[in-house]
């Protein structure tokens, strides 16, 4: 069988809400194909829904960055060997048993029950932010005034980070996720947030509060360094993901008035609408990446030990094998569960139940409070985050 080989991963999106057309075309030819990584490694590109789940769910694949071949040309030759090691506590880029040990320390904090108990409190944060937006007059940047502050206020309060100190990490958080800054700049930004977190851990040890970081320290389980990096990971993840779903999700709904009408007329559809928006938008721009630790056969392809695999979440979430005849359409009533927008396998998003509640309350209240919300610029003028690892919109000028 001749295998399809891509020299480089297409990342340009022709339509703001769709994966790159070239990636969709690749998926239609081959759910698993070959992809050249920037160091010349001939790895794999996995675009099928079933196949992405298989890779992400298999213990035969590692998420240790030292094993991965580099996709990003910027990092080629720049990254020292020890610069690729996973920091203590950064469980997202660790394999079991370290990953299991660290994640277990946090799992109890993010259960469905605990997150549901936060509904009322999150509702109040959303109400306050919408009142603030209204106080600005008849127009605003929805990202700056709503989509970013809501998850930021929530995660800061949960972790016990002073929201007024956000200038010390928000800019650096964005830098770390930018695809356009150099490796050195990204590492410098990371070092600054680490310093902020180390100070925070020291403060919490001396003066514990009623928050997740204090609770984590109180268990006596993680080292200071682990606690600091675990908190950093939660802060980073809590900021950039839900904020972008609220931003580009609102953009999408405004561009699909028939679907928005369903959301407004049938409030009970909101939980499914959140799943469908997650599926349709897949804000992981591309990835995640894994490397095989032993030979593994998937869908008739022999992936050898040492081969790096790029799974493509946006392509997988539009796979007709899973989502039927019209996966390219936004359909808030579609059974969208089973999407891989939160990932799959042991690294599946730890904060997903929090994210769901923030989106459910965020979208519901936004359109209840501002039923006449509209774009204040031509849709082509909305700046897209094609330069970021987490996709979305940089700003969303709206009027009401």
């Amino acid at each position: 069988m001749t295998e399809l080989i891509s020299e480089e991963l297409p990342i340009t999106r022709q339509n703001p809400f769709d994966p790159p057309a070239e990636v969709t075309a690749i998926r239609e030819q081959a759910r698993i194909s070959r992809l050249k990584f920037s160091d010349g490694h001939l790895g794999w590109l996995v675009t099928g829904h079933h196949q992405v789940r298989e890779v992400l769910g298999s213990p035969k694949f590692s998420n240790d960055p030292r094993r991965h071949h580099l996709l990003d040309k910027r990092f080629q030759g720049e990254v020292p060997e020890d610069g690729r090691k996973s920091e203590p506590g950064m469980f997202l880029s660790q394999d079991p048993p370290d990953h299991t040990r660290l994640r277990k320390m946090l799992q109890g904090q993010f259960t469905v029950r605990r997150m549901n108990q936060l509904s009322e409190w999150i509702g109040k944060i959303v109400d306050d932010q919408l009142a603030h937006m209204r106080s600005l007059g008849g127009k605003a940047d929805l990202v700056k005034e709503f989509a970013m502050p809501v998850p930021s206020l929530v995660i800061c309060a949960l972790l016990g980070v002073d929201y007024d100190e956000r200038h010390r990490f928000q800019e650096d958080t964005a830098k770390m996720l930018s695809l356009e800054v150099s490796f050195k700049e990204a590492m410098a930004a990371f070092a600054r947030i680490q310093e902020f977190m180390r100070e925070l851990i020291a403060r919490k040890k001396a003066d514990p509060g009623d928050d997740m970081i204090s609770d984590l320290i109180a268990t006596g389980e993680p080292t200071d360094e682990e606690a600091s990096n675990m908190a950093l990971l939660l802060l980073l993840a809590g900021h950039e993901t839900t904020a972008n779903m609220l931003g580009i999700g609102t953009f999408t709904l405004l561009q699909h008035p028939d679907q928005l009408k369903i959301l407004k007329d049938e409030p009970e559809v909101v939980d499914n609408a959140v799943e469908e928006l997650m599926r349709y938008l897949s804000i992981i721009h591309f990835g995640p990446v894994r490397t095989a630790v032993e030979d593994v056969e998937i869908d008739g392809h022999l992936i050898k030990a040492g081969d790096t695999v790029l799974t493509h979440v946006p392509a997988a979430n539009r796979d007709p094998d899973k989502f039927g005849d019209n996966p390219e359409e936004l359909d808030l009533r579609r059974p969208a569960s089973g999407h891989v927008a939160f990932g799959h396998g042991i690294h599946q998003c730890l904060g997903q139940q929090l994210a769901r509640i923030e989106m459910r309350i965020g979208f519901s209240k936004l359109f209840a409070e501002f039923p006449d919300l509209r774009l204040d610029v031509d849709p082509e003028e909305v700046p897209l985050r094609t330069d970021m690892g987490i996709y979305g919109v940089h700003s969303l000028p709206v009027a009401w």
Binding site: K104, M105, Q107, T111, M115, G338, G345, L350
Partner: protein, 63 residues
């Protein structure tokens, strides 16, 4: 129908609880799955299977 869960595999995603809270719960301490009904009524068959399919860590089996 019999449901089995493997706590050692569970990664605390909560997808099972979200799918059918009559069948599954999560441990307060570490978020791992707690099975509430090992042999549920037939009316729960579809959601039990869905929960098994959605579990990211393949910690739930339905037989």
């Amino acid at each position: 129908m019999k449901i089995s869960v493997d706590q050692s595999k569970c990664c605390g995603s909560g997808m099972c609880v979200l799918t059918d809270p009559d069948l599954f719960d999560q441990n307060e301490e570490d978020g791992t799955v707690v099975l509430l009904q090992e042999h549920p009524d037939a009316e729960h068959e579809a959601t039990a299977k869905e929960a098994a399919g959605l579990c990211p860590a393949a910690a739930i089996t339905v037989s």
